[in-house]
Amino acid sequence: MRQRRPSPQTILVLRALLVRATEWRYGYDLTKEIGLQSGTLYPVLMRLADKGLLESAWHESDRPGAPPRHAYRLTQTGVAFASANIDATASAQVGRTPVPA
């Protein structure tokens, strides 16, 4: 079966996670960094986690009294998937760019 290409929002999230692939990232920080609303970010994160492309863990917060934060990073499969799809999107965009006369 043909695999669906990720949405532009998913590509944005993948790109942000791939930049520092080994680091754990937090939901609120990602919304600020990417400029996506949490209403868009969290469903994307959930789908990525469902597909095994994203791993998560609970980390102690650096703010006193704040509850532990849920942190995310790409799995190895996720890194490969992100690289492949970001490259594919970039080449598709290049293909669509009109050649100057």
Binding site: Y26, G27, Y28, D29, T31, Q37, S38, G39, T40, L41, Y42, P43, L45, M46, S56, S61, R63, A66, P67, P68, R69, H70
Partner: protein, 210 residues
């Protein structure tokens, strides 16, 4: 109040999210305490609410329950119609106005047909009363997801409807050859099982793909 609004919104989102996503609800609430200010927290919490609604809308179990409830409500409405018919029939039995008898007399029905009609009237009224009650029971079992009991009640309802239609058909066939409510009952008898089979197959396909 405005300070607490983001937390309230996140708590609503927690309740809206399907059970399988509960961990994500905790994640959203935890992030709330890291928002830069109250405005940012409100913005973040509103987004979480939207995310929860989206997840709820995509949830297969929610789809199934919503479809089951829709079928149950339509079945219950059918039941109410049968009970109203039965109530009208009871009123006729106790001397109320009988439009059907009037129509038969106006169309010059023979005395045998009139006699048969009057004999069968209490049985048909009882059938409609029983049908209404059994259909309500059917709707109840369906809404609770008790499919074996539903199937039993459904077969009983079909049997009662069949008896009611057969009696009427044997006495006073209308111009088309069948009593007027026959089509509605037949449509319901066919549509509900077909919808349930479709729902079951869809659910199975979803489980296989996930």
């Amino acid at each position: 109040m405005t300070d607490r609004l983001p937390l309230i919104l996140c708590n609503v989102a927690t309740r809206l999210l399907p059970a399988s996503r509960r961990l994500w609800a905790d994640a959203m609430i935890a992030e709330l305490s890291h928002a830069d200010d109250n405005r940012a927290a409100l913005n973040f919490a509103s987004g979480c609410l939207v995310a929860a609604l989206r997840e709820r809308a995509c949830d297969a179990d929610t789809h199934i329950m919503a479809t089951l409830w829709t079928i149950a409500v339509v079945t219950a409405l059918y039941a109410v119609v049968q009970l109203v018919c039965a109530a009208h029939g009871v009123a006729v039995l106790f001397g109320g106005h009988d439009g059907m008898l009037e129509a038969l007399l106006r169309n010059g029905a023979s005395s045998t047909i009139i006699a048969n009609y009057e004999t069968a009237r209490p049985i048909v009224v009882s059938c409609f009363l029983a049908l209404g009650i059994v259909q309500l029971t059917t709707a109840w079992f369906l809404s609770r997801g008790q499919f074996r009991l539903f199937a039993t009640a459904w077969c009983t309802a079909c049997l009662i409807a069949g008896i009611a239609v057969a009696i009427q058909l044997s006495i006073i066939p209308n111009d088309a050859g069948v009593p007027s409510e026959f089509h509605a009952l037949l449509m319901q008898a066919v549509a509900v099982p077909v919808l349930l089979v479709w729902l079951h197959r869809r659910h199975r396909r979803f489980q296989e793909s996930s």
